[in-house]
Symmetry: C2
């Protein structure tokens, strides 16, 4: 976290169009549907599939990220990932993004180079084309607003609203690690503020930090499900926390849910660090957020197809709407699920 | 400009999802292609046309607008309009928008109601559906980032790159008024700062103020051109100023241009107020920006079709690339056109 003396090239020295040319020069168009990228009044997309899915997510300095400990390359990567995650959650494939950036003169070209390098890496991994955006100055800090466009056939698109009674609730990966990664970074930031000579104690926490700083979007899950011939009945990505997302599925599908505490997939490191922070593992897994795993429901008859897959865990089932959404604890108690997840409007 | 005591409902009192529900309740989906609007991980669009055009434009408080004199309803209207203008500039029709907003707790629900009412009006007039977005807090001020999606057949889409030698350069409407509107508002703001009891002197300037505060996007022009059976060879909208946009067309089409000073359409009020401000009318028309008129080129053989239309003015013609882009002054001098227009990265 120590500040180093680094080269600083002001954004003004390039001008708006020069800056855009510079930052986007390493973004080739890969997809057949990307007809026209940056450089006209609009980008143009050829409609190869039946439907287009589109989503937008903003990241605001001080609200969504803290540049004290988030390297710009990771920020760029994450900004793309959180948007792609929404497309995978529709059971669709992302193809294009637009990047809007408001940036103050506190930032130099070198910082933006790193930011865009992170975006480039995410685009490359997910075969997504940068086709447009807007670059403007801001009076305070950095704001990124990305829009992602994806393709899918109508029959494949999975909404939040299709879950039905007796469907199984399935989640990819494991939960809670990203939240603990953030707690670790905040702890080290506080230590550093007290004593700038202290070195951050982050060794051994790599998995948690990676889940926070460099999350992945589950491109593999729609592909796996297609390979297994499973069409989820509903799907959502886990950005605000498992609890909040299950409530979304219940609300949109007009159903209830039973979630089993002992089934929630949790990494051993999460147990360990929860103890260190005196946190309850289940609470962290339910409300932590930023896992960017996929939560979906499948018809009971599809259980055999997915049960051997190590990426997927059945954590509960759908019940009647009148039951509400409940957690069945290890000792058999029923607790109503509540959305205590991170809320961009009311909390940090 | 006097501050009134007004009702203030904090954004926190509604919460993020409550706020979004509240603000978007009066936005019905009108278009057959709008399959799914707000409420899932992505919006879903049915691909009815051959191609999709997409563009994004951000408006940052203090950079693009000043809430001292911009009413929130006008701001919302303008935020939509500047995005739609990019779609019309592709000779396409806008169908959907996504609205991302970062907003500090300085703003109340009443302010946002007005902002969204302005957006709703623009959506209604242009038959555009609000299908998504993101709402987040910010630590300072207001930022809007809109994405607009439009439809067109491949054969209709008009790029910046199709202008060819001897094509006529045509512009819609008249130029320079929006810039003068801004000068008037800035002047009155300065007067008000000196003496808060002074009443703003804005009577008689309605046209200029309207052009600045409530610009229109030229939906009619693609329709008129279609009706006249004219396909422009290139097109761009005038956001940064005529001069800058002609240079864009020349660069992308690899041509030069001759623009005739005495042909530039200018409203009588612009002449009058230029004198008042001791400004050169041509400079204002060339570099003022924010007119949101359409600039396009047509084949010489299409001249007869458009010449009687009062919305359209032929202001010059395309020449060899080696000629560069030139202004032919009233007294027959040749002056190179330069892009002195508003630059979001270097000027306010």
């Amino acid at each position: 976290m120590a500040e180093q003396e680094e080269k600083f090239t002001s954004l003004e020295s390039l001008g708006e169009f020069g800056l855009i040319d510079h930052l986007t020069q390493n973004f080739p168009l890969r997809n057949a549907s990307s007809i026209k990228g940056i450089g006209d009044d609009c980008a143009v997309i050829e409609n190869l599939s039946g439907q287009t899915v589109i989503s937008t997510d903003a990241l605001v300095e001080g609200v969504h990220f803290d540049l004290t400990y988030v390297p710009p390359r990771h920020l760029g990567y994450k900004a793309v990932i959180v948007n792609l995650s929404d497309v995978y959650a529709m059971n669709a494939m992302p193809k294009q993004i637009l990047v809007t950036m408001a940036v103050s003169n506190r930032f130099g070209v070198e910082f933006l180079n790193e930011l865009y390098e992170g975006m480039r890496l995410a685009c490359e991994e997910h075969e997504v084309d940068l086709i447009g955006g807007d670059t403007t100055s801001s009076y305070s800090g950095l704001m990124l607003s990305l829009t992602v466009i994806g393709e899918a056939e109508e029959a494949d698109i999975t909404y939040r609203s299709g879950a039905k009674k007796n469907d199984l609730i399935v989640v990819s990966g494991d939960l809670g690690a990203a939240y603990l990664g953030l707690q670790l970074l905040e702890r080290e930031k506080a230590v550093f503020k007290e004593d700038p000579n202290m070195q951050p104690q982050l060794k051994g926490y790599e998995y948690l930090l990676q889940r926070q700083l460099r999350p992945e979007a589950r491109r593999d899950i729609p592909e796996i499900l297609k390979g297994l011939d499973v069409k989820p009945t509903s799907m959502i990505d886990i950005s605000d926390g498992l609890s909040s997302e299950i409530l979304h599925l219940c609300k949109h599908s007009k159903v209830g849910a039973k979630l089993f505490e002992d089934k929630i997939p949790i990494d051993p490191k999460v147990y360990e660090v929860c103890e260190e922070f005196n946190l309850t593992t289940t609470t962290v897994a339910l409300n932590g957020g930023e896992d960017y795993e996929l939560l979906f429901t499948i018809d009971l008859s599809d259980h055999d197809k997915i049960k051997a897959n190590p990426n997927l865990t059945v954590i509960g089932h759908i019940s009647d709407e009148s039951d509400g959404a409940q957690l069945v604890t290890r000792d058999g108690q029923f607790m109503p699920l509540t959305a205590q997840g991170w809320n961009a409007m009311t909390e940090d």
